[in-house]
Assembly symmetry: C2
Homo-oligomer: 364 residues x 2
DNA sequence: CTGAAAGCGCTAACAA
DNA sequence: TTGTTAGCGCTTTCAG
């Protein structure tokens, strides 16, 4: 208390002089409460004082300590984001979108990839809870049951993709797989393909099942009977795509087109096909799913069903935010629709033998 | 103070009963200090009590509040990680590596991509400082000067790639670009290429200059004079690769091989070449840099210089950790070497016309 | 070896 | 409108 007026003694580099709210208050000759109010833009602060405070803050390069704020306010301003694997290019795009909106709104984000590993998932949850996230977006395209207990018990708002537990605080992003996949199938059918294969994602993922279902449904709709031997379970990876295509190549007859549950699979397929000496789309057509950036420059550029990572990210953030800012509101929107659309590029074309038939028909 | 002994009144779902250290202490019949010590594995805790505490913790699913811990201990256990763009697949691989080690060591990580945007960079710094990161890894492959002031002023340990300010608390990861690039050039020379082009990264990046220098040096070493018109500045993106290759195609004569400053550029090049009707490696060879996962399945699979994102991540973490755990130690290692190596795949081969010469020579 | 108590930097009543 | 003060949940002396 003795030196309470020791304003600007300004010794050169003496103590590392901690930069806290008190330092600012002293330098601006106001109470810490006023500094706090200024920072938080409380309307009742006298503009003159506010300016004084802001000036000091700018001069001293003061940044409020988020930990302290969080502790007292009970709001960490952190959202968790759980994805399956960061090395699949779809997710970085999603992450980028999430980061954009989050930062824009003063939130920080805790990313974590599970790599389909259960122990990592538990670790994830622990990290999220310890850091007191205000909500978590589970963008793994498959429910990870164990996530629920701990998080739900603590009333942490959650967003899932496709399906989530029916409970307050959880929203779900409803992806309309059907629309894009149906466009893809029809595109193929219009090209005269009848022998169309599908490489799915891991079937324990709900999203993989939905995509497969959308595929078979659309196929039937075109009057084509799905052949089980042409529906292969993949795992959404490059290698999975290669392996699946290998199996498909072993069937007889071989399909003239293959749709893939995601772009990474399709890229693996393209690679395998090239290895096998088959040309795309002359010998066989392929369609991907996701429309990751790189799909534009594959050889040939990939026809694919676009599901925007940015939309997913934006909606996920919006959902979380809605719950946080407005906890008990009259059931804030709980479902968010996500569109999918076919992007036609160059990996699809008419099958060779049917092209002949086509010309024949034309002549009739 | 009246109800200090109201131990386990245990009403059913009355208050959301906050789960804090006090709750645990009460349930285990010990003081909060003991709980704290138990959690922090202080050796002096009586094993019997410790067990009792751990049991209660497990039963109640208690997770210590990191904010509070950070506030009082002054250690946030967070490292910042700044990268240029998360959508370049090299960075997710790096991020994954960083996440692995970080989590393993109880650290959380604050990722942030600058997208080469200055205002985002400032934002980055603010976020890092506000969240009180204990150190930051700046993996942008180019110094972002403004980062220094604020961070350095606060004595935040930093790791850079290639070059960083000579000051205590900053380490640098010295990438040996020369080794891998030289291997690449020699590989090409051995294949009989003489007309070799190079597509660099943005030249304001130190790393881009180093790579370019390594290239020209290695070229001369092989007795080839670098031709300025075959050294093009790219920007490390797909589109940049396409644009650069377009320029190269316009030169006369055209180069018979092109080395790229990163794999994304090379993939763009592959695409452009395919569009131009040129075959790789028959008409022209291409070499990338990074060895991102996808380089294995490009068409053709890409010969590239491998720089391991995992190694970078591990070393970056180690450097940061060394400074944090051991602040004043006798100058902890300040430079960490990173190796690069050529991975030969199928995008390189002998140029067509020289192949003829070669056979001729053989006959002599 | 254990407990009581003093804060960490900040926000949010409550007074003035 | 501004200042005083009591904590937020935890770690860490300092006594016992």
């Amino acid at each position: 208390m003795v030196e309470k007026k020791a304003k600007s003694k300004n010794h050169k580099a003496e103590t590392p002089e901690r930069m806290d709210i008190r330092t600012i208050a002293r330098a601006a000759n106001v109470s810490i409460a006023t500094v706090s109010r200024t920072i938080n833009r409380v309307a009742t602060v006298n503009p003159t004082m506010a300016k004084r405070v802001w000036d000091v803050i700018g001069e001293l390069d003061y940044f409020p300590n988020t930990q302290a704020r969080a502790l007292v306010s009970g709001r960490s301003k952190i959202f968790g984001l759980i994805i399956s694997e960061i090395t699949n290019p779809f997710f970085p795009e999603l992450l980028q979108g999430f980061e954009d909106v989050a930062v824009e709104n003063g939130y920080e984000i805790l990313v974590s990839s599970t790599n389909y590993d259960t122990s990592r998932m538990y670790q994830c949850i622990r990290r999220m809870i310890e850091r007191k996230v205000e909500g978590v977006a589970i963008m793994t395209f498959g429910i990870e049951a164990p996530l629920l207990d701990q998080l739900a018990k603590r009333n942490v708002p959650l967003v899932f993709i496709d399906v989530g537990p029916q409970s307050p605080g959880v929203s779900v992003l409803k992806v309309d797989y059907h629309h894009g996949i149906r466009q893809g199938v029809q595109h193929l059918a219009a090209l005269n393909h009848k022998d169309i294969a599908f490489i799915s994602g891991p079937l324990n993922l709900h999203s993989a099942q939905s995509r497969t279902a959308a595929f078979t449904y659309s196929l039937k709709e075109c009057g084509i009977t799905p052949s089980p031997k042409w529906i292969i379970e993949g795992d959404h990876t490059l290698d999975g795509g290669i392996a699946a295509m290998e199996k498909l190549l072993a069937t007889n007859p071989q399909p003239t087109a293959v749709m893939c549950s995601n772009d990474m699979t399709a890229i693996g397929v393209l690679h395998k096909l090239n290895r096998a000496g088959l040309r795309v789309p002359d010998d066989i057509s392929v369609i991907g799913f996701d429309d990751i950036h790189i799909a534009q420059v594959t050889i040939p550029p990939l026809t694919t069903v676009r599901m925007s990572g940015f939309s997913l990210a934006r909606s996920a953030f919006a959902a979380l935010r809605a719950h946080v800012e407005n906890p008990e509101a009259s059931t804030p929107q709980r479902e968010y629709p996500i569109q999918t659309d076919l992007i036609v590029r160059e990996s699809t074309g008419s099958p060779r033998n049917t092209r002949a038939q086509k010309s024949k028909r034309r002549r009739q």
